[in-house]
């Protein structure tokens, strides 16, 4: 479980958020909701230690994440609000890179099945620069299943997705929670997921 204790962050004397407490237990899904520019992405970056917080600590399974940051990263999948696939590599090359980087145990058949569910199988050998932004987004979200980590942190996962993909994504979230996972995501939308905890920023 992830415990966020008394977290505050300010940029140039401009307080983004202050004294934030949050505890994400296993089998829970939490949404950070807020209007544009309210600091959702900044909050995610502070949680992942890419930005230095002003006060407060973050604990993962009882240990301060700063003590062993790679131990925390090893259990985390982070989907950013922009695309991280390499534009000049093909879809399959990108997937192979991600799965080997995270030492994933998924077999080739499972990966092609995944591509089929997201309906991007026909682009396997196309360079990602020729895909539409919705398709690239779906490719990004494949990393969730590919990396098989316990904690999922997502920044605006619903961007560019069509209705069917949003449904599949919500179903994937529910499956992950049922498998003892933890999910934290930001969005300004109101997705229809049962037992969703909402934190307003």
């Amino acid at each position: 479980m992830l415990l966020i204790n008394n977290l505050s962050f300010s940029r140039n004397d401009n307080i983004i958020f202050q004294n934030l407490n949050l505890s994400l237990i296993n089998r829970s899904i939490t949404q950070i909701r807020g209007k544009n520019g309210s600091g959702k992405t900044t909050f995610i970056n502070v949680v992942l230690n890419f930005l230095e917080s002003k006060t407060g600590e973050i604990f993962w399974e009882g240990k301060n994440i700063k003590k062993n940051i790679f131990n925390f990263y090893n259990k985390t999948t982070f989907i950013m609000d922009h695309n991280t696939c390499t534009r000049k590599m093909t879809v399959l090359d990108n997937i192979n890179f991600w799965s080997r980087l995270s030492s994933s145990k998924l077999s080739k058949d499972e990966i092609s099945l995944l591509l089929e569910t997201f309906n991007i199988q026909k682009y396997q050998n196309t360079k990602t620069m020729y895909l539409s932004s919705g398709e690239i987004r779906k490719l990004e979200l494949l990393r969730l299943i590919l990396e098989q980590k316990k904690l999922w942190i997502l920044d605006e996962p619903y961007n560019h997705l069509d209705d069917l993909s949003i449904e599949i994504l919500n179903q994937t979230f529910i499956d992950h929670i049922n498998k003892d996972g933890v999910i934290l995501f930001t969005s300004h939308l109101k997705p229809s997921i049962d037992n969703l905890e909402v934190v307003d920023l």
Binding site: F50, Y73, C85, T86, K88, R100
Partner: protein, 223 residues
């Protein structure tokens, strides 16, 4: 063991990117040869004159044409945050910088080596000077990769003016040029000059991973 696999994975990705960007390399080499032609035509057909100035001109043009590619050093990976993904995969920023320097050395600088003997033909250089040139270029290009990593990481947030980055490389490269050209001089001791060059290479190999990693962290924080 897993770390070694990840290092190989990194090089494999770099190799793939290199093959998809191979036109960049060819344009750099083309720039190198065209500027050599311009020098040869501008100096005239005096064989002795060309032979005297040849090594200096080849060295400075090699330097200029390899600085052309330095801008791309971290830019793509930084802009689409692949650097963050690789870092979360368990590789520290320092190691990323070191691997990036090595891959730049292998994939960008080493192909230039093949073009040096051809360039030497235009200046009618004697064969022992060609050997010296190739030997000093192997060490010098490694120093160039280290320097390029520092200047490229300093310029990650600078979207408009990259010439400042090239200035740093050119400034710090002056001693390398002095020692490399010195090997050609019959009065100077060849072995001691090579040791000096190797010393400079080791200094920059020590400095650049830490400093570049610090600049990358700073840039990610202010992105």
């Amino acid at each position: 063991m897993i770390l070694i696999q990840k290092i190989f994975l990194f090089f494999k990705r770099e190799a793939k990117l290199f093959y998809s960007n191979i036109a960049d390399l060819f344009s750099n080499i083309l720039f190198f040869f065209l500027s050599i032609f311009i020098f040869v035509f501008a100096l005239g057909a005096d064989e002795q004159l060309l032979r005297n100035v040849g090594m200096g001109i080849i060295w400075s043009l090699l330097l200029l044409s390899s600085t052309l590619s330095l801008r791309k050093f971290y830019e793509d990976d930084f802009n689409n945050s692949v650097i963050k993904i690789i870092h979360m995969g368990g590789i520290s920023y320092e190691l990323i910088v070191f691997l990036k320097i090595m891959s730049h050395f292998f994939f960008v600088q080493i192909p230039f080596l093949a073009s040096i003997p051809i360039a030497c033909v235009f200046f009618n250089l004697p064969i022992n000077e060609v050997y010296y040139l190739i030997l000093t270029f192997i060490i010098g290009s490694f120093i160039l990769s280290c320097l390029g990593s520092i200047s490229a990481s300093m310029n990650l947030l600078n979207k408009t003016n990259f010439s400042i980055g090239s200035l740093i490389v050119l400034l710090f490269f002056i001693p390398v040029i002095i020692f490399s050209i010195g090997t050609n001089n019959s009065e100077s001791d060849f072995n001691s000059l090579i040791s000096l060059l190797l010393g400079i290479a080791l200094i920059f190999l020590g400095i650049s991973p830490w400093s570049s990693a610090a600049f990358i962290k700073l840039a990610l924080r202010n992105k």
